[in-house]
C-alpha cells in the first residue's frame, strides 16, 4: 500500500512538472496557432541554467527565480527575431524552424556544459523527509507539488481573471478581430510566447534535482509535452492539467511494474489518442 501511495505522489509531482511544460505549449498553440518544437530544448536550457546558478552561488532559490526569467528573456528574443516570421506559415515550416532552434540550443548546452549530464541537489532546507501518516516522503518532492500547484493557480488566475488573460483567450478565438479592436497583438504574442516557454524553463529547474540533467532529454520532453497536450486538447489549460497529471501518474506507476515498457506505452497511447480522439478531452474542434 505504501509503495502505491509513494508512486502516486511521485506521479502527481511528475504530473505537475509535465503540466508546467505543457501548459505553455498548449497556450502557444491556442493563441498563436504555433507549433513549438523547441519547447523541450528550453526545458533543458532551464535545467542547465539552474545548474550554473547553483554552482556559482550555491543558492537553489536564486536559480528557481533567475533561470525561468532568463529563459523567458531568451524566448522573447527568439520570438522577435525568428518566431514571428513564421506565424503565418503552415505548421510544417514552424516545426522545421523550431526544430532548428532546438538543435542549436541542444548543441549549445552540450558545448557549454559538456556531453555528460549534470546533477543538482535540492536546497538544504528541503533535503529531508516529511512524515505523512505512517510513511516518509522526500521534502523536495512535496515542495515541487505544492510550488507547481501555486504556479498553476497563478497561471489560471492570469488567464481567467486578468485583462491579459482575457486578451489571450479572445486572441485564441480570433486574433484578427482582436487586433482590429486595437490590441497590440504582436506584443500579446511575444509576451505569451515568452511566458509559455518560461514555464517550460521553470519546469526544468524544478525537475532537475529529481530527474537530473541529461543533454539529450529535449526530444523526450517534447514528446511527453505533446502527448499531454494531445490528451488534454490543444489550447486547453484544464486539458494540460488533467493530461499532465494523468501522464505523470501512469508513468510513475508503470515504472514500478514495467519500466522498459513505459516509453513504448506513452507513445503508443499518444498514437491511440490521436487516432481516436484527436481533440483530446478538453480541446476544441
Amino acid at each position: 500500500m505504501n509503495l502505491y501511495l509513494f508512486q502516486a505522489l511521485n506521479g502527481i509531482g511528475l504530473g505537475m512538472i509535465y503540466f508546467l511544460i505543457s501548459v505553455g505549449l498548449t497556450i502557444i498553440f491556442g493563441l498563436l496557432n504555433f507549433v513549438n518544437f523547441a519547447h523541450g530544448a528550453f526545458y533543458l536550457l532551464g535545467a542547465y541554467l539552474s545548474f550554473s546558478v547553483v554552482s556559482i552561488t550555491g543558492n537553489y532559490w536564486l536559480a528557481l527565480i533567475l533561470a525561468p526569467i532568463f529563459i523567458a528573456f531568451i524566448a522573447l528574443l527568439c520570438e522577435k527575431t525568428l518566431i514571428k516570421r513564421v506565424y503565418h506559415l503552415p505548421h510544417t515550416y514552424q516545426i522545421l524552424v523550431t526544430l532548428g532552434v532546438a538543435l542549436i540550443i541542444q548543441e549549445l548546452c552540450i558545448s557549454i556544459w559538456g556531453p555528460i549530464g549534470k546533477n543538482i541537489s535540492p536546497p538544504d532546507s528541503l533535503k529531508g523527509v516529511v512524515q505523512l501518516g505512517e510513511f516518509f516522503y522526500p521534502q523536495y518532492r512535496l515542495f515541487v507539488i505544492v510550488f507547481a500547484a501555486i504556479v498553476a493557480f497563478g497561471v489560471w488566475i492570469l488567464l481567467d481573471k486578468t485583462k491579459f488573460g482575457a486578451l489571450v483567450r479572445a486572441g485564441s478565438e480570433d486574433a484578427e478581430t482582436l487586433s482590429l479592436l486595437g490590441t497590440h497583438t504582436h506584443r500579446l504574442f511575444s509576451i505569451t510566447f515568452a511566458l509559455g516557454v518560461g514555464l517550460a524553463g521553470l519546469a526544468g529547474v524544478l525537475a532537475a534535482p529529481i530527474k537530473g540533467i541529461h543533454p539529450f532529454i529535449g526530444p523526450e520532453i517534447l514528446g511527453l509535452a505533446f502527448f499531454v497536450v494531445v490528451i488534454g486538447g490543444m489550447g486547453s489549460f484544464t486539458g494540460a492539467l488533467v493530461g499532465g497529471l494523468l501522464v505523470g501518474l501512469v508513468q510513475s506507476l508503470m515504472t514500478t511494474f514495467w519500466p522498459q515498457g513505459a516509453s513504448l506505452m506513452i507513445y503508443g497511447a499518444m498514437a491511440f489518442v490521436i487516432l481516436l480522439r484527436p481533440y483530446g478531452l478538453f480541446g476544441r474542434a
Binding site: L82, G100, V101, E107, M270
Partner: protein, 331 residues
Amino acid sequence: MKFKNSIIGGVTLLAIAMMILMPILLPSITLATEILIFALAALACNLLLGYTGLLSFGQGIFFGGGAYTASLVMIHLDFGLLGALFAATVIGSLLAFFVGALAIRRTGIYFVMLTLAFSQMAYFLAYTFSDWTGGDNGLLDVPRPPLSLFGFVISDLDSVESFYLFVALIFALVFILARRIIQSPFGTTLVAIRENEGRASAVGFSTNYFKLVAFVISGAITGMAGALYAMLLNFAPLSNIELLMSENILIMTIIGGTSSLLGSLLGAGAIVLIGDLLSSIWPRWMMILGAALIAVVLFMPGGLWGGLEALYLKLTGKNKSTQSSSSEDKK
C-alpha cells in the same frame, strides 16, 4: 523543351554527372557512397514532403527497418545481395503501409505527431528486442555478399570502388524511376493533393489512397537505402532507427531543396560532407545544421537546388515567368 522534361534528360543528366564527379572530387569514395545512400533516403522523403506535402518524422523507421532486415536475412538466412535488398525493400514497404495507413487518418500537426510517435515506438521496440537487433550494440559483422546473377558472380563488391559503382547504379535507376513517378498521373495527383487537398478530393481523387501509395513507395526506397547502408558499414546500429535519423533525413531533404529530386542529392551531399569535415574538428557541428535549417526555411525555401536554379536563371538572363508553369516541368 521536350528533352528537358523526359525522364532521362535534364536533371537526370545532372545527377549522373554528379555521380561521376563525386568519387573523383571527394576525399574518399566511401564518403561518396554514403552520400548516394542518404540521397536515396532524402529522395524518398521528398516524395512525401516536397511532392505530397506530408512531413514525416518516420523515415528512420524504414531506414533502420531496412538495415535490420537485410542484415538479418544475410546473417541468418544466407540471403545473397539482391535477395537482401529485395527483402529490405519489401519490409520497408510493409512498415510504411502500416505507419501510413494509420498516420494519414489525420492531417496537419496530428499527422506529424503520429509519425513521431511511431518513430519513437519503433526505436524502443528495436532497443527492447535486442536478441534480434543487437539492442544498443546493433548488429555487427553484417556481410556484403558478392553481386551475382543466376549463379555468376559479377563482382565481389569488396573494394570501395566496386561498391560505389553498385550503389551508383541503384541510385541512377531509382532516380529515373522517381522522375517517371513524378511525371506520371500519380505524381501530378500528389502535387494536387499537396496544393489543395480539398479540391483534389472534390474533383474525384481518393486522397487517402494516393497518400498511402506515396508512403509505401517512400518506405520501399528508404528500406533499400538502409540495407545498402548496413552493407556499407558492415554494421547496423540502433541509431538508424532513432528519431535523430528521421530528423537528419528531413534536414537533408529540405536543405537540398524540395522542388526537385536533384535537391535530395545536393542536400545529402552537403550534410554528409559538412558532417565529415567538421565532426572531428568541432563535435558540436550540428549547431550549423540547425542554423542552416532555419535559414533555408526562412530565406531560401527552394533550398540549395532553388538557389542554384535562381543563380542559373540570373546568369543566363532568363525570366522565371517565361517558363511554363505547368507541373509538367516538375523535376
